[in-house]
Symmetry: D2
Subunit: 254 residues, 4 copies
């Protein structure tokens, strides 16, 4: 078995047509702060449109970062965060992680199918507590050593059963998709899942602090912090607030 | 290991206050058809309110069943189906089933936690293709016989690893929740999940035909038909239409 | 014009099959508190299922009201509130109210159509600030007196224009629906809207404190309190918490 | 009064990090079709990830446009359309339009507030049927002429009442926001609304054919076609399918 670790890559995000080469230029866009990202400019533009406060009379919110801090976080006008989104490609995360993340309704998922794709290509994800465990007491007749080695060995065994089952059902006449669909029943929670996930800034702002919280599953915590890192170039002010909320649970703003 | 089979029980649904003993009686409710269920009366009441067509001038839709067929299905005014909901208790279904069902955003789930509850109480769900498979070729050194027996044996092995891992991590100092959270990494897709799920009639109308379709996972198909059976006392006209759509995919109405 | 005031009636809610006469009895339901409502029993049942804590070992949460306070509010396990819902018939509220309420995505609406129904039957909703205003300075050539009388007079004028426009367009050959669709362009925000709205307890718990907040539109505040009153027989513990949050904004629990 | 007409401008959309100058380059991105837009490349990438069909073995779907037609429309694998979104700035549309559009839950709105912004800046939207009406029968004591002139005149009258009410309530001691909140009760459906709306390609694909359908409100139809035009540079293949569905209601694909 191939031990894999989580990998989160930003592959797409919302950009202004002004930014795209050859795109139409919006002359009358009032709220462009040269220091701000496209995503956070769009959030400000949408927010100022509600009050048509284009002239930025309040110096405390003249800068984009201050505007977003004040409006989206202090005033909790969270809907303006919905206009910009970020898409990540992920791998090296477990089916247990996916099962919990899918519960959030405002993310969009495209995930490798266990019915269509041969599971032999999937790695095994070692949970943090097992990865860090340093015990060396034998727990399996075939193995002495740390739990992570046992899990790796066991995952290989599960994969062997998967392959035998899929082959046997297919050779007995089932189409390959239906053979894999049945054989996947042995695949464990630690089986790697790969895919693409998209969420807008409001969705990420709701989900990441919840899933980075100390009471969350530890893999969830780790991956949430990786998503936060990957989101930072798109929405640095938002990420800054989320890091604060994660560091000081229960507090919205500094 | 305990082999389990799917069980779906209706435990709650929407009823009219008129129906509840001692409840307030709505005198001016015009659309009560004595042959209709509470849920489908409510759908009709909501629909007629859009047009304030209380006097039922059209004999073709004077009966509740005809009204719902015409309005919610032929005219595709699906939003009126959202007012009534049904809650089911389920058991004997697999984590693979849950993973796919959770993707639908309009159901509400409360599911037994693999982090809090000892997995030793969970049964094993044999996929239909393996359940029906009658081969007897040995595929494991320890076993000759049909695949279902192999899967049962193997699930027991997975559970043994789960218990050893959970015990070992807990005895090394991890709180029980965190020990189980790590140990659950070996639990396979065929592990039973139990819980409660609620959906309104529009959600069930969207999801059940998709998941009862011949191209869906076979466990999904079987469980969708069980949900349909359990939904029938709540919404017989709706279920009648869904059965038709399932029998004749691509057709909305007879 | 007919001045109307808001009216909110509970017309349906979630009940247990156990409660319905002749319904199937769930013998193994462990969490039924005889003092609790069906909706709140269902919430507890769903919540306990996540931990399979049927035996209620914690005396602090043995009563249903304590369980819901602790789990859904203190621990913020809000998803269990999604299983029970309540449906209200409403009238005497304005289109301005509807426009803001519709923004919440988790309510289900069936509302009288301005395209199908003759607006002559709609009343006029006087906003609280105008209703209470006691000035008597003339502001219209045709009127001296308080603003509420001016608004009532003016709404009658708007309705007159609506009727003339609808009649004229229809007599020039437009079908009645299209004539009304165009003529409704003169109908003001204070035009009454009637209909049916359904939400689960989590939706109401999110929306009502926001819309009863002193910074909300005053009509929104008033109607939110009426919905709260109507919801109380369905979910008294939940309503108790919401009243607390409304009285002490920013605090989740006592 | 200022008569306004609908204006829809694309102001932002999803782009690949590969495209952004200085952005990280994804070397192993297999599905980039040089003729495709960023948004539709992302949709293909997400879709191929479900089957890990990177090698494009099927020549019928080797081109991006063919892949999207086949997968998202013929096979109805609509979830892959959720990864890319488009944001439009709009003006010159009516409150009646907004009320209907808001009912769709998968759009994100930031709209000019009638509580914070002086309504004197809002134009009047003449419905298509009134705009085109050529009658010249007097219908108001103060006016002979086509209905559009009458509506314009009447909207000016409504605005006058709004301003008098807002001024009077403010001068009697109400804060400006609360004075406008009450005074807006006279603003009619034909009052202009301006703002920003974001939707992903699946949301637009669901909503635009519904709202461009001949049975929809005529302003809805017109504005839907304008949104379609503005969406075309982002997602030409998707728009092509939607135009087909609009031209041939009930057909998904050619």
């Amino acid at each position: 078995m191939n031990i894999v670790t989580p990998k989160i890559e930003l592959i797409a995000s919302t950009t202004l047509t002004n930014t795209v080469e050859g795109g139409p230029k919006i002359e009358d866009w009032m709220s462009l702060d040269p220091d701000a990202t496209d995503a956070e400019c769009l959030v400000e533009e949408a927010g100022r449109g509600c009050y048509e406060s284009w002239d930025k009379p309040n110096p405390k919110t003249a800068r984009n970062a201050d505007y977003i801090s004040r409006t989206a976080f202090e005033m909790q006008h969270g809907s303006i965060l919905e206009h910009a989104s970020a898409t990540f490609r992920f791998s090296g995360v477990s089916r247990a992680w996916l099962m919990e993340m899918e519960r959030h309704r405002h993310l969009s998922w495209s995930v490798v199918s266990q019915r269509y794709v041969d599971a032999a290509t999937f790695g095994v994800v070692i949970p943090p507590a097992i990865r860090e465990e340093t015990g060396s007491i034998a727990y399996h007749s075939a193995l002495e050593g740390p739990a992570s080695e046992a899990l790796e060995w066991w995952s290989g065994d599960a994969m062997w059963h998967y392959e035998v089952l899929a082959h046997r059902l297919h050779s007995e006449g089932l189409p390959r998709k239906q053979a894999r669909e049945a054989a996947r029943s042995v695949l464990p929670n630690c089986t790697e899942v790969r895919g693409v996930v998209t969420g807008n800034l409001r969705a990420w702002s709701t989900i990441l602090p919840l899933r980075a919280h100390p009471s969350a599953d530890r893999e969830m915590q780790e991956v949430s912090m990786l998503i936060l890192d990957a989101l930072e170039p798109v929405a640095p002010t938002v990420v800054n607030h989320l890091r604060y909320q994660i560091a000081y649970p229960g507090k919205e703003t500094a």
